[in-house]
């Protein structure tokens, strides 16, 4: 047996934890070596002499239990912190989730915004771009204005597409074209209400006196008709030209139009009316009454 093995057996022998098998092996060696046996027995004595263990003080126990108490408190506070952290985390997560849900719901429920797509195109302009709108003739709604309370408003007259050309010509910048339009209208065998309306507008609004005089002359053959007389009566107050006004008064007086009496009286009472016109009105009214 090697020396190391014997030393290890002696270590077990000294502390008393040697197995029965090893004890028998060691005793065989002791039979051959008495000194080794003595050495082993002395080692066992030394082991036994090392029995005097120290006792810790009560202060150590006190410190330990204080430390244990602190650890218990920390353990509870850690648990509370975990719950608190979880609670705050849940609140934050709930807020974020609510925002996302609101965004998604709002996006899919709101009406889509009107998207105006502008297309830009580069255009080479040689001259200043001036918009000259093409005047498309539209149906004109014309209302016959009452001359006085005695004259009842008549039905609305609509100038249809057949009068469109004449209406455009009556708005021409050239006086000759407007006169020509008046002549063409009056040359028709049967004047419609639309034609009469166009002539009435020309009598009231045309800036040129010659055009208005042409209207008066063109209606002269039809003076016996009441609707023609109405057209002429409507033009009495709007005339700023003495010649036109005289022509109107002469025509109505010659036709002995009783429809024109109220308008003629109004014109007579007007201080701005020319004296010649007033005298002519006076004489005509007296002749009507006689």
């Amino acid at each position: 047996m090697k020396r190391e093995e014997i030393e290890q057996l002696l270590a077990d022998y000294a502390n008393g934890e040697i197995s029965p098998e090893n004890r028998q092996r060691l005793e065989k060696i002791f039979e051959q070596d008495a000194n080794l046996k003595q050495e082993a027995e002395e080692m066992a004595v030394v082991w036994q002499e090392l029995n005097g263990t120290e006792e810790p003080s009560a202060a150590m126990d006190k410190q330990f239990y204080a430390m244990l108490q602190n650890e218990r408190v920390d353990e509870r506070s850690k648990g509370a912190r975990v719950v608190q952290i979880n609670a705050s985390w849940i609140k934050a997560a709930a807020a974020i989730a609510a925002c996302i849900i609101m965004f998604v719901v709002g996006r899919f429920t709101a009406s889509p915004p009107e998207v105006i797509k502008y297309k830009y195109k580069t255009v080479l302009v040689k001259q200043p771009a001036i918009n000259t709108p093409q005047l498309k003739p539209e149906p004109v709604l014309a209302v016959r204005h009452p001359v006085n309370s005695a004259i009842k408003p008549e039905k609305e007259i609509i100038i249809n597409d057949n009068n469109t050309k004449m209406a455009q010509q009556l708005r021409s910048v050239y006086v000759s074209e407007r006169i020509d339009a008046v002549m063409k209208l009056s040359a028709q065998k049967n004047l419609s209400d639309g034609d009469l309306k166009l002539l009435e507008l020309a009598l009231q609004e045309d800036p040129n006196a010659n055009v208005r005089l042409t209207v008066i002359n063109s209606l002269r053959p039809l003076i016996s008709l009441q609707n023609v007389q109405q057209v002429l009566i409507s033009g009495l107050n709007s005339q700023d030209n003495l010649l036109v006004q005289n022509s109107l008064v002469d025509l109505l007086v010659s036709a002995k139009s009783k429809l024109a009496i109220p308008q003629l009286i109004t014109l007579l009472e007007n201080k701005n009316t020319d004296a010649i016109v007033q005298n002519k009105i006076k004489g005509s009214i007296e002749s009507f009454l006689n």
């Binding site: 290890q8 202060a59 430390m67």
Partner: protein, 171 residues
């Protein structure tokens, strides 16, 4: 209840069970630290406190199939060696101020034996303290020191033999 089952309770948060383990091991650990630190009782108590503090702090590292005593003394061994390294540095500083050691006459054999124990090389004294005062088997000490059982037994033999020479020479 075994040490291992008690430690599992501690691991699962029942810190009250640590008190039972403390009562079982406080004396062994105290003597381990006292003899490892030249009979310094303050260091002995401080070492025990540190062992149980770290046992609670690192209780999650305890393995269910592990030997509790080995695990506990591993903590103690690490504390002692960490403290020992700091102590060596301090002793190196104090070497310049050492005075020649005077012979000390002890009143009885017991004191003489314990004085001889202090003079043993650390690796020998450690095995003797752990086995004699800590109640650890050589196999457990080997596991803590991460070496073979034969090495520990050889160290134990040489430690006891050295004490024997001192003890019986004086006698």
């Amino acid at each position: 209840m075994t040490d291992e089952s008690l430690m599992l309770y501690v691991k699962n948060g029942e810190l009250d069970k640590a008190a039972i383990l403390y009562e079982r091991y406080k004396k062994q650990l105290y003597n381990f630290f006292v003899y490892k630190n030249n009979n310094d009782k303050d260091k002995g108590e401080d070492g025990v406190q540190q062992v149980f503090y770290q046992m609670i702090k690192y209780r999650h590292t305890y393995k269910e199939d592990g030997n509790f005593k080995v695990w506990l003394y591993s903590i103690a061994w690490n504390i002692q060696h960490h403290d020992f390294r700091q102590q060596v540095k301090q002793e190196d500083i104090n070497d310049n101020y050492l005075i020649p050691e005077t012979y000390t006459q002890f009143d009885d054999d017991h004191q003489t034996l314990h004085h001889a124990l202090k003079l043993l090389p650390d690796i020998y004294r450690e095995v003797l303290v752990m086995s004699r005062f800590g109640g650890l088997k050589y196999e457990e000490i080997a596991e803590i020191n991460n070496c073979s059982v034969g090495v520990i037994k050889t160290r134990a033999f040489r430690a006891i033999k050295s004490l024997r020479e001192v003890y019986f020479k004086i006698s």
